[in-house]
Symmetry: C2
Subunit: 511 residues, 2 copies
């Protein structure tokens, strides 16, 4: 499959067609102080409430190994109801071994992910059952789309990491499809990815295959992590068996975990933001404590996903004012514990339309002002996460790049102040021909890929396509421009052998 | 015209159809500290550069009265070239009489505009030659559309002020159409408006007609202002005859002025943000000084409209990362001089599409984080200001309301922390039926008017309309729901008589 693709790209390059403009690969830093919506007192009140939840209400942990680990550490455990009560002393002690910053290094070290501090990373959408584009419509997730979406994530420099299963390839056996998707992540891209930690096996397979791609042993990778997972909490206050097992496996092997309660206000959480944040904080800290009991120093992030529901229907909503506030306030909580922060810019829109972008912008600004370190589901999320959209992916890349450029500090020096040019151009004149302009114009401003700045008549003559229709053209072109990253054939064979062996062990019959 | 309309609205109210949800009329305050992109040193460097411009390069003022006023105040003036050089001492002295906050009171005092401090006001788009909606397409501005757009501005509480000529009614005589548009502003709405200050006559007519609607004399309104204008600078460094005359007339009569350089980086300004800001600052301060020389204490705002051009074509761009940064940095400059701040959330998109909303969101977040007091052109701006769009107006109202709700501070107290509910809902349960939820759900979250949160299947069954198509339905419904604000018939007659007299004086032949 990859050979003809590579040739097409080469031909295209040969014909000197201009590539889609995009920002170069770079580590994105947020130079501005994080925004504060909560006062110090309010943060402490939310912390206190979350300690009250952990000490008095308890968390259900559906995992025997986890229960005994917590009991041994001094937690009160009721094995019959699988409930754990943590006191604040235990929480504080466990948090001492967490890392405020760490790195994930994939097979291409230029794609290293820095988590914590002022670095922001953006990821491909994860987990939708469906796929949509404007030409082929909505369909169930499948491996062909999986590969194309991952190719798009590789193509765009601003997508720093692959989410977990950008869509579910449902034509493949459920118990082994994670192997095929890992293989696609590792061969079609050279970026880090989020692996599936639903149970021990899926987590271990992802760790092992990433280690093969890097030429490392599992032991070597324990001290030099490469992958992450998101541990979703079954809010309120429940960690299920598979998620708990995945969390512990990742910690055991030194790989990163983002513990992320899904605290939808009014449904799985109180209808009030303060209450939802207290619950989120309790649940996140519980999972974070567990990682440190398994392996002190295990890389772990504070995850947050607090939004609200439509109270008329119970439907989840994203990119709301409440969601934007939660994204900022949750960053304040993450920093209270010196933890890297994972957040999300979602949208509930069923289409890659004006609602899709204004909702994502609301949540994305919240994520950036809140100093998110891992902005998860940042490209391609549609229908509240039920669909991976090709057009939305393109619009999201455009919005991410807007934010990246916004985060470039303003420079003020003699060259930038341009007094020479200002003194030379006459009143009512223009700066087009000024040497100061000519020296800088090629790179002075961000050059968008979706935005159309033609006048109305020229735009009409060119077909009058709206932004969504232009996004269709762009993802098709990006797939043509995509270049598969080179991989040592021996490593590729080793990955294939690992997959084959594991499929045999799992007992998969290839269709 | 208005009678049948009023009856239709009454019928509709009688039939108990649910009104379009919208936020109640309220003064919007920004409770968070303004964002700072520039350091104190950088602000001072820009200030210094702008003083250099005023002292050494000078400003062209095409107005004899203004030139002598400035000369009398101590400025160096060259009458042949109409150039004025201001030294920093004169600038600092004139700035002493400006007001850091002031109010504009229209005929309905509930619609009072507070300028300065932490209050944000949003205005209808001003000045487009064209109009567009998805059903009737693009057409030249006309009085029927003018009135409908102004009705929409009246209907939505979050539009605090009417912009200057939401579209030009080109079928009317150019030298008197300002009278008809003022009449529409004053009778179809009870909000403050931006009047046209192209020359003395247009400004005086707007002031006089607003005074009639309030039952005040011009003298009374001098100390109790009601209207504003935007004085655009012909950047670089030129104030034309009509604009200068308008500025001086407004100041003379105690009405508000926002001096707003249009500093498009790479065209009318240096290609660098620092240079454009230095130029903007010099031009804005020049106009502000002039208002204070005419009438010390005259209400005046620091206006900023710095964006960039597409360097491939020279076309203006809005809602760019550079524009968002300029909106924030300009707020820092306005506050350096303790002046209320006018800014703009523009977009260059030719359609009310995904680009239209992501560009507006970029600039709108900049306006809000920069603590804009008057967010001008906030509803209906399309095609870089060349078209007033009905659908964009609806999308903009939605985005403004999102920001208004974002600006409501998070409350943290026992009721909001919801520990009772958190202790009662079992692990893995839900909060739908909790008393804590039921007591609050009706008003807990912002209820949008455009956003659709149905699941995909229900959305498809309901027609699968995208946000732009839903906006069409909404502006039509809003026009049906619109209620004309009551006006004393004697005042209406007085306005009509003023118009008739002025048209005679101007020498208009009615078509």
């Amino acid at each position: 499959m990859s050979e003809p693709r590579r040739r097409r790209s080469a031909d295209r390059a040969g014909s000197k067609a201009a590539a889609i403009p995009q920002l170069p690969l770079r580590r994105v830093r947020n130079p501005y102080p994080p925004m504060a919506l909560l006062s110090e007192d309010q943060i402490e009140a939310i912390h206190e409430a979350s300690m009250h939840i952990l000490e008095n209400f308890g968390i259900e942990l559906m995992n025997v190994r986890g229960l005994s680990l917590l009991e041994k550490a001094g937690a009160k455990v009721d094995h019959a109801s699988q409930t754990v009560w943590l006191d604040r002393g235990l929480v504080a002690e466990a948090l001492k071994s967490t890392q405020s910053t760490y790195r994930l290094t994939p097979r291409n070290p230029e794609r290293t992910i820095h988590l914590g501090g002022d670095t922001i990373n953006f990821t491909l959408v994860a987990g939708p059952p469906n796929v949509h584009d404007m030409e082929r419509g909505r369909r169930a997730g499948n491996y062909r789309d999986y590969c194309d979406l991952v190719r798009l994530a590789q193509h765009f420099n601003c997508i720093h990491m692959i989410g977990n299963q950008v869509c579910a390839p449902i034509e493949m056996p459920a118990n082994s499809r994670h192997l095929d998707t890992y293989f696609a992540n590792l061969t079609l891209t050279d970026k880090s990815f989020h692996l599936s930690a639903i149970g021990r096996g899926r987590a271990l397979d992802g760790i092992a295959m990433m280690a093969i791609s890097r030429g490392l042993t599992l032991d070597q990778m324990r001290d030099d992590p490469a992958v992450t997972t998101i541990i979703s909490v079954n809010s309120p206050r429940r960690f299920d068996e598979a998620m708990a097992e995945g969390l512990m496996t990742m910690a055991e092997y030194g790989q990163s975990v983002a513990v992320t309660p899904f605290t939808l206000m009014g449904a799985m959480s109180p209808v009030t933001l303060a209450g939802a944040l207290a619950q989120q904080n309790a649940e996140a800290l519980f999972g974070i404590v567990l990682t440190q009991l398994v392996h002190p120093g295990a890389p772990v992030m504070y995850g947050a996903f607090t939004s609200n529901v439509d109270m008329r229907s119970g439907a989840p909503a994203f990119g709301t004012p409440e969601n934007a506030k939660a994204n900022i306030a949750s960053g304040q909580l993450a920093r209270r514990y010196n933890l890297p922060y994972r957040t999300t810019p979602g949208s509930a829109s069923n289409a890659a339309d004006a609602q899709g972008t204004y909702e994502t912008m609301m949540a994305l600004w919240g994520a950036v002002l809140g100093h998110g370190n891992l902005v998860y589901h940042a490209a391609g999320w549609q229908e509240g996460g039920l669909t991976a959209s090709y057009e939305k992916l393109i619009l999201d890349v455009e919005m991410i790049q807007h934010m990246m450029e916004f985060l470039r500090p303003i420079e003020v020096d003699d060259g930038e102040l341009a007094l020479d040019a200002l003194g030379r151009v006459p009143t009512g004149g223009h700066f087009f021909g000024e040497p100061h302009t000519l020296e800088r114009y090629a790179s002075a401003f961000y050059q968008p890929m979706v935005s159309n700045w033609q006048n109305y008549e020229a735009w009409q003559e060119a077909g009058g396509l709206d932004a969504t229709a232009r996004a269709t053209l762009l993802w098709k072109r990006a797939l043509e421009e995509y270049v598969e990253p080179a991989m040592d054939p021996a490593i590729r064979e080793e990955l294939e052998a690992y997959m084959a062996k594991r499929k045999e062990e799992i007992g998969v019959e290839e269709p």
